[in-house]
């Protein structure tokens, strides 16, 4: 099946964006990445711990495979801070893609919509491939597309909660209305949630905790890979309408009595 995902002029066979935080160790992380067949990996940008510089340097563990790196602006509480982090990330020379993540609430980590739109506009005009993490509001997602987002990433539920897709109606409206790819980001907890997102018309999903904190991250990575394919095929095939009463699968004529 030739069904590629195109973002920022790049084509991907995989529709999974995989986070790199919270795995039990680098070995399990690498095994999980491999099992997931993800081609896009997300990262955060943080100060180097100068007492132990190698401790957190995630990229040294990744080996030779080429990935599309998607750094995020987590920790930013304003558009200004997000822009600064994005520019620092780009100056690493590793990627001009940026996941905008701006939150002013530590408890929910829900994205601040106004600052997210501002940052999207500034960074898209500055040549970044901008993928904003946003709340699941169709009108807001549309505004992010207009502001120059290369893809829009509405959350299913708050980061790390595993609550799945709390408002499937909104997610479906978003996938219907946007012309840029829609990546459901945050809150997905299992393969079933992933299939649901894809059946609602998402072009891809972004997961971290669901895989990193599963009892068996490597197997969950594989499950998610299949769930994406199942959900995507189901979406492309078209589900039957829901009806209140039964329809027999066989004709009721000619029954021997």
């Amino acid at each position: 099946m030739n069904d590629v995902l195109t973002i920022g002029g790049k084509q991907f066979d995989s529709r999974l964006f995989l986070g790199t935080g919270r795995y039990p160790n680098p070995f399990v992380q690498n095994q999980s990445i491999e099992a997931s067949e993800a081609e896009v990996l997300t990262f955060a940008i943080r100060r180097v711990n100068l007492n132990s510089p190698d401790e957190d340097a995630i990229l040294q563990h990744l080996g030779d495979k080429t990935f599309q790196y998607l750094p995020n602006t987590s920790g930013a509480t304003s558009a200004e801070e997000a822009v600064r982090i994005a520019k620092l990330a780009r100056s690493s020379g590793l990627s001009n893609w940026i996941k905008i993540e701006v939150s002013r609430n530590d408890k929910t980590l829900l994205p601040d919509p106004i600052e997210t739109v501002k940052a999207t506009e500034i960074l898209a005009n500055d040549g970044f491939v901008v993928l904003p993490y946003t709340s699941d509001d169709p009108a807001l997602c549309y505004r992010l597309q207009e502001a120059g987002a290369a893809a829009v990433m509405p959350g299913g539920s708050p980061i790390g909660t595993g609550l799945g897709i709390l408002n499937p109606y909104n997610i479906e409206l978003i996938t219907e209305e946007l012309t840029v790819p829609v990546i459901v980001d945050a809150g997905l907890g299992s393969a079933a949630d992933v299939t649901k997102a894809m059946e609602l018309g998402a072009d891809g999903v972004l997961l971290n905790t669901a895989i990193a904190k599963a009892r068996n991250p490597v197997k969950m990575a594989e499950a998610v890979k299949h769930a994406i394919k199942a959900g995507r095929l189901s979406y492309l095939s078209g589900r039957i309408p829901k009806k209140k009463y039964a329809t027999a699968s066989s004709t009721v004529n000619y029954i021997s009595k």
Binding site: I45, L50, N72
Partner: protein, 65 residues
Amino acid sequence: MRLHINGETYDLEVATMADVVHHFQLQKGLVATELDGTIIDRDRWDDTELRDGMKIELVQFVGGG
């Protein structure tokens, strides 16, 4: 000279940004730098001269979602 790096104060025998990266034995390809609020790209590390009291940020990619 006295420098403020990642929120701590250090007395280092350095002249340029490249010297600072070298001093902490950081992997060049993985680190991004900021000097007094201005990003310094890697190809400018060698000729970015430092002065006493300057503020430096050294950041890198870490695990995240």
